[in-house]
Symmetry: C2
Subunit: 209 residues, 2 copies
């Protein structure tokens, strides 16, 4: 499990570099300088070089990185899979329902195989509407264990975030994408990425006014 030793933000940036490299491949570009790749990914060249140290790629002075070689090296670390990664989504309110309807997850290799909600009204209407089974949240832990689910998307109100995370962690989920405003505590061997849309908007409003 050597990969666990790569810092969380480095893994995030490696996925940015990988996307830029795929773009370059499609454009028929063979080599790229660290400056150009860093610029395309929105990071500093020193950061890029440090990150690429984790994948054992240092580039060649004056020549830069081979696009195919570097892309392959990152894939080797990050893993590539032709199988859709199963994901559960908890909280089928406005945001959760919007995320269920968003087909971009599948395109990126993720399949929401089930959703969970505490409100039976949501459960019924959305099961019919969305093509994804929506269960009562009481069954979350058992479902996750039975299906060996390792990733979850949390879209519940902030007050319910931690208790949902606790159930997921206990059931073996190792990676959480948290859209709730709650700051989640999880054991050190689990990872949480938080996307706080309300905070993003409010901070932008400050600059817009």
């Amino acid at each position: 499990m050597e990969k666990i030793d790569i810092p969380k933000r480095t893994v995030y940036r490696l996925s940015l570099y990988q996307r830029c490299l795929q773009q370059l491949k499609e454009e028929g570009v063979d080599t790229v300088s660290s400056e150009d790749l860093a610029s395309a990914a929105g990071v500093k060249p020193t950061q890029l070089r440090k990150d690429l140290g984790y994948v054992g790629q240092v580039g060649t002075r004056g020549l830069g990185y081979g696009v195919g070689t570097l892309s392959g090296a990152i894939s080797g670390i990050m893993g590539t899979s032709s199988v859709l990664q199963p994901v559960v989504l908890i909280g089928v309110g406005n945001l959760g329902a919007a995320l269920l309807r968003y087909s971009g997850f599948r395109k990126e290799g993720f399949e929401i195989i089930a959703a969970f909600d505490a409100d039976p009204c949501h459960v019924k209407s959305t099961t019919e509407e969305m093509g994804v089974p929506v269960h009562h949240v009481d069954g979350l832990g058992d479902y996750v264990k039975q299906h060996g689910v390792k990733m979850a998307i949390i879209a519940v109100p902030g007050s319910a975030g931690q208790s949902v995370a606790d159930v997921l962690v206990e059931a073996g989920v190792s990676a959480l994408l948290n859209f709730s405003p709650a700051v989640l505590s999880v054991p050190d061997d689990r990872v949480v990425n938080q996307v706080d849309l309300a905070a993003e908007l409010r901070s932008l409003a400050f600059f817009a006014s």
Copy 2:
């Protein structure tokens, strides 16, 4: 325009503190220590104290911060408004459509007053479906100028991100929430917050596998 001098990430964290303070107010709590407030917001106490320096609040040793006083001071800096802030959304694909259906923006004080797309098929179906007018992207600049819009949400493919941002900047938009994978270049007096869902998911998948 003194507020422009507050760093972008500080503004973001102030909005987190504000949410925590509102929660405390609802719970009837009068004072809070910097440690407790920092923990609730998911930041280090030293970071919190530094950030609160920008709003002129230093707290009282042994007593902490007055919840109402601090909340009022942050509101004074961040601004509060009973008027919904008008926002345009560009790109009514899967993600853009999901965001249009998400009612959480309105709850946070933002109203998507119009959407724009380059594809007339999207334009037609979504205008009827969503209750928000969806225009052809050719009219974006004029619309923004006419309505004095200062905030925009970008949900176009990465290849179109920068050109859309250029139109918005030229038309006077000062704050962009960018869901496209493109890294956007804007003048120094404009602000971009990026939410890259695909990169969040891919980096989580690394830890889940």
